[in-house]
Symmetry: C2
Subunit: 205 residues, 2 copies
């Protein structure tokens, strides 16, 4: 796209580097910015300048945090023997929203993906094995996407961890609650019949 202004080109270019935003959508966003108050756009730019400088990661779980150690890791009520391995902060937010998980987290910061040039050394896997090697953890729940990258990462973690005497589990896969059987894909449906659950387990006792 041929744009008549250098600064316009710069902003459109920056937006179009983001996933799912092409040149046309980028221009639409920038035209919206131009109709906003200049102060609002300045706050936006200023926040971006501060992003990499001011953002802190929890030294324990590598989640984004306000302090050196995040709130979850500080929480004395949490089960310190249970650790859930996730890709990024979005998964932490999603799992926290369920209210069902009371252990700690470990944020990998990505998935192993040779296609995108992401190897194990770019993730926080070393810090995870050190933590598990210290011997305080009894179970590791791997909560990654069931994509090629997720499964590769799960297998890599399993190989690294199996020397230690801890339980490794993954999230249950099956038909979604509220979902209709006829719309479930065959792999999910097949897995859900293999891993069927006794009805008694689901009764409120």
């Amino acid at each position: 796209m041929n744009l008549p202004s250098k600064v316009l080109e710069d902003v459109v270019h920056s937006f179009s580097q983001l996933p799912g935003i092409g040149q046309k959508s980028a221009l639409r966003l920038v035209l919206h910015l131009l109709r906003m108050q200049p102060q609002q756009v300045e706050r936006f730019g200023d926040a971006l300048l501060r992003l990499h400088k001011e953002l802190k990661y929890c030294k324990n779980c590598h989640n984004i945090a306000a302090d050196e150690i995040c709130e979850i890791c500080c929480d004395e009520k949490r089960d310190r023997k249970l650790i859930c391995v996730v890709e990024d902060i979005r998964d932490v937010i999603a799992l926290e929203n369920t209210g069902q998980y009371k252990g700690l987290y470990h944020v990998l910061g990505g998935l192993i993906s040779p296609m995108d040039g992401v190897g194990p050394s770019q993730l926080t896997i070393d810090s995870l094995t050190t933590k598990i090697g210290n011997g305080d953890i009894e179970e590791m729940v791997v909560a990654l996407s069931t994509t090629m990258e997720g499964d590769t990462t799960l297998f890599y973690l399993y190989k690294k961890i199996k020397q230690f005497d801890i339980k490794v589990s993954t999230l249950a896969r099956g038909v979604a609650i509220g979902g209709e059987l006829e719309y479930a894909d065959e792999i999910t449906l097949g897995r859900s019949i293999l891993n069927r659950v006794p009805y008694e387990n689901q009764l409120v006792k």
Copy 2:
């Protein structure tokens, strides 16, 4: 959404003010920024800071320009008696890409929309009537969307302009080229049968 970091919250909030981007998409974009080089994100922030300060508008047509007067308005080969009224720079780019229009433009900078609090005074309508009042223009093509706002703006312009002795036209509406009749909506199809074009006009002479 509860985020653990102030700067993260600021950037997510800024992104989620853009059209079509909610809190979840905003967080996805910010996590992508975190995996980019810090210098790239800084260039993004810097470009946003410069946006409102450095952007220039053509004094003649109000399009975004590199100088005081844009390239199109400077072009001596263009028909200065023909002016095309559009909403923003995207429409100028789209019309220029057709290669079919040789007149000048006038960029309104928006459409009249009482719902969004945009009145005629926020658009460049005064400058348009002054230009037409000077008497050099013979035809004004109004190329606005056929939405409520577009039609309101067209009617307002027509009332303002009709005191001057110039031709006012709009874009032809009809079935798209390559489009199938059965998928065209009734209003478009109805308009295209009313405004049917003699086949002779379409023959290459």
